[in-house]
Structures are given as C-alpha cells and as structure tokens.
Symmetry: C2
Subunit: 296 residues, 2 copies
C-alpha cells in the first residue's frame, strides 16, 4: 500500500472509531436518564413510554455513473430521551469535481480527482437547557492533501460555565499542537457561523479550521485531538443540565432558535449547499435539521 493509500485508510478508520466512541458515549447518557429523574422533567409523560435511545445505522453508496467515482457512508441516527435527534455521519467518497467546482478547490485546478472522508455530527436536545452541538472533521486529498473541521456549541439558554468549558477543551486540544491555532480557529468559527441576514452568531462558537496542510502526521494528530476534546467535553455539558426542569417558554425559545440553525444550514453552510446541489445523499446531508422548529 502506498503511503498515501495508507494515510487515507488510517484517516477513515479514525473517523469510524470516533463515531463509535461518540455513539457509545451518547447511548450511555440515554441510560442515565433514569425514571426518577425523567419524572421531574416537564415531558415526563412523553418520556414515560420511551426506552433509552439507541443509534440506528444506515449505509448508503455513492453512485454517479462514473466508474472512477464511488464510496459511500453510514448514517447513524438516534431519537432518544435526552437526545431528541442526533445524527452522526461517516463517509469516504472519491471521484472528480465538476469543472466549475474544481476551480475553487486547492490542488484540483489541473486534476479534478478527489478523495474525501470525514465524520460529522449534529445533536438537537430535548431540553432547552442542554446546548445543541455540531462537530465535523474531514480529510481531503486532491493533488494536495489537508484536514479540516471543528466543533461549535449552540446554547438555547446561555450558560457561562458551559461556554467556558467548551472553549477551554478546544483550546487545550489546539495548544497541544500550535500556540496560534486556538485564536485563529476560534475567530474563523465566529466568522463562519454568522447569520449575515440577521447579523447574529449561530451560537457561542468553538473552532473551525480548513486546508490544514502542515505536516500530515501532525495535522492528523491534531484532528484526532479535536474529536477527543469534543468527546470529553460535550457529555459533561449534557450531564450538567439533563436533569434540570425547564419552562414552556424556554422550550418555545429553543424551537425558535432552532429556526436560526435551519436558516444557517440552508442559506450559508458550504457543505450543505454543495452536497444538495451536486446530488449528494439528501438524507445524510439534511440529518442536521432539527426535529421540531418554530417560526412563530
């Protein structure tokens, strides 16, 4: 196996491994919402009949008629007691960018072939006191090869301790690798997850990075650490709030804030728009949309 093939294979294997660990961590949280805790929540009646959530997996293949294109992915989705809807997608796909698109991609101008693999996750929570979250890391190979990704938190009811913990976890992951990373990638996240038409941030941010091509082993290690930081900190934030009762007004506010999430993903998110407009897997791409939303 060439070094490049070995790298692709290691990156894909990591994305799947991270997916497995995240799914296991989230299922454990589902088990922790015991009947006596659930009884204190405003949705006790709804939860009464609901077993702890478990992820369901569904594989899909990429087919675009080109024999040199292929790959596919696996969607994992859980509709649970704590996690109202959480989707985790892994994929590894290859083929040729369209001529227009190739011009915008590093290393694809003269040779439009690409290979891309990643893991991406969005969680929408039943409790408006538990923040929604997004995490994605990916590895792209054209004539160049780079990593990208990040994680960002969307609290519906702001909580300073959550925000601090989330940023601190990502900062620690960044600082292990480069003292400049956190400031740069935090700013990039704030700029990216901004609803221009409302001049509003989508949430409290986190980090966002792309086209990271310093040293392959170092970039891969950083990308793994971003995933591990997320895996460590988000469950803590969930546990901090999952047993707290909320008000109907907080739930209504959550549904309205989720509308902003939809607006961002359908109006601005590059991955969503690119995927939808180029025949990507609609079900996997739109798994990020919230289960219930309001524009009152």
């Amino acid at each position: 196996m060439s070094i490049q093939e070995e790298r692709k294979s290691r990156a894909s294997a990591w994305f799947e491994d991270l997916r497995d660990r995240i799914c296991a961590a989230f299922e454990t949280i589902e088990d922790e919402l015991t009947p006596d805790v659930a009884a204190k929540l405003p949705i006790a009646a709804e939860l009464g009949d609901l077993a702890p959530g478990r992820f369901e997996r569904k594989a899909w293949s990429r087919e675009d008629g080109d024999p040199a294109a292929g790959g596919g992915g696996v969607m994992s989705i859980m509709r649970g007691r704590v996690f109202e809807k959480v989707g985790v997608n892994v994929s590894a796909v290859w083929g040729k960018f369209s001529p227009d698109f190739a011009q915008q991609i590093p290393g694809a101008t003269d040779d439009p072939r690409f290979w891309a693999s990643g893991v991406s996750l969005v969680a929408h929570m039943r409790s408006p006191l538990v923040p929604a979250v997004h995490m994605n890391t990916r590895h792209i190979v054209t004539t160049k090869s780079w990593f990208g990704g990040g994680a960002d938190l969307t609290p519906m009811v702001p909580d300073e301790a959550d925000t601090r913990a989330f940023h601190a976890a990502l900062k620690a992951a960044c600082d292990k690798h480069d003292p400049d990373y956190h400031a740069r990638f935090k700013q990039w996240c704030d700029t990216y997850f901004h609803l221009k038409h409302r001049d509003e941030p989508r949430g409290v941010g986190g980090i966002f990075y792309d086209n990271l091509e310093s040293d392959w082993e170092a970039d891969f290690a950083f990308t793994r650490d971003v995933g591990l930081a997320f895996l460590d900190v988000y469950p803590k934030i969930v546990r901090r709030h999952m047993a707290e009762a909320w008000t109907p007004a907080q739930r209504e506010h959550q549904l309205v804030r989720r509308g902003r999430y939809v607006e961002f993903n359908l109006l601005y998110d590059r991955g969503t728009l690119f995927g939808l407009k180029t025949g990507g897997n609609v079900e996997a791409i739109l798994m990020s949309l919230p289960p219930a939303v309001a524009w009152p």
Copy 2:
C-alpha cells in the same frame, strides 16, 4: 403626474386594495369557525381560549443610506384559529440595483435605477386538510416595465377537487387575456416550484409568470385578475375543509411537508435569497416560513 408615475401609483394602490380584500376575506373565515364546529376538531382545547384571528399590521421603511432610494412596506400577519399563520406583505421601493445584480435585470444594464411594488402572501393552516397557499403579484420598472406573479397551492393531504378548482380558477383568469397564458404559466410554475435536491414538486402548482410586458393596461388587468381569482377560489377551498377533523398522523405529515416549504424558500426562492442577501427586511421576507415544522 406623468403617465409612468400614474401607472406606478395605480399598481401600488391595487396591491394595497387586494391586500385589504384578502385580509377581510380571511378574517371572515376566522369568524366562521364557530364554537360548535371548533369543538369537533382535534385541537378543540387549544382553540377554546382563542378569539377569531385578526391581522396585525406593521409598517417598515427602506433605508440604505442612498437619498435616491426609499419606500417601504406594510406587513400584515394573522395568527388565528383557521389560519395558523398567514402573512400578507405589500411594498413599494425604489433605488439602484447593485452593479452585479443590475446585469441580470431586464432594462437595468445601463441604468441600474428601479422601482418595484407588489403584494405577497403565504398562508399556513392549522388543519392539515386545508392546503397551504402562496400568492404574489408585482410590478417592476427599470428602463423597461413589467408585471410578474402567480399563485400556487400546497395541499398536505391531496384532494383532487381542490386541485381542480384551483387550476380552473387560474385558467379562467388566464383565458380572459390570452389563450396561451395558462399552459405557459402553469408549466413555468411547475418548473419553478421544484425541489431539485429531492426531485419533488413543492405542491400541486398553479401559475407563475414574470417579465410580462405586452401592453401595460392589458398586463395590469391580467395581474388584477390573477389576484381576484385567488381571492375567489382559495376561501372556497378553506371552507370545504375547515370543519373536518384530522388525525395526529395527518398533522405530523403536515409538519414534515412544511419542512419542504422551508427547504424551497431558503435554498431556491429567488425573492427570498435576493432579499436576504441584499439587506431586505428580514421579518417581512421570512414571514413566509411556517409556524411549526418537523424534520423528524
């Protein structure tokens, strides 16, 4: 007053007049959902405390720092017993198109000044048995001058009689003016209101026309007739179903279908995208989004 100023003024006055007639017709429907009818609906408990809906109006002004730009509009919104959320916007605005945008607009290539006025309406209904509906007519003046608009129906639970009645009303309005209009504008509607990423129509269609510049008086008369056809047929469709009970599964289906409405408006609708990306009135533009939506 020049003939052109007089025409602008007549067009704007008509859009406001149509708005007033539509609001009055919809408020009458609200009054017709009497307590004994409401008691038979699955949301009787919710409706119990709710008075018949009335439109609330809110004026807004266009300000973009250019003394040669101006105008504004009035949003009318009703959250009622039959109409879960219905917005009717009228506006008359003028200014200069941005250089990029001017290249795409008839008659604006060399002179970017424009004047635009219109009425636009989206209704989302409590009952999944009553179709959602969209209607819009507008008059645009650059160095050219034209009318555009249309109406389209989005049933959640298909009903052949409704679809036939809706198309027949618009066909009659078209046929009064040109025997070719209906076939052309119906096809245009089907092409326009298509969710490419899902290869699905948004609803059962209606008519859509743009850049209509034959004879000003004839085009204005046609545009009025489109509005009047809508005003006649849609209340009939509402009345046909508003007293029918529905099932929880039908309501859930309605919330999912509304997601398609959101996807269309944020991914494809030219007016929405143009408005949001060029500093239009966000509240007026997004009034079209449904009050409650699900991506389960």
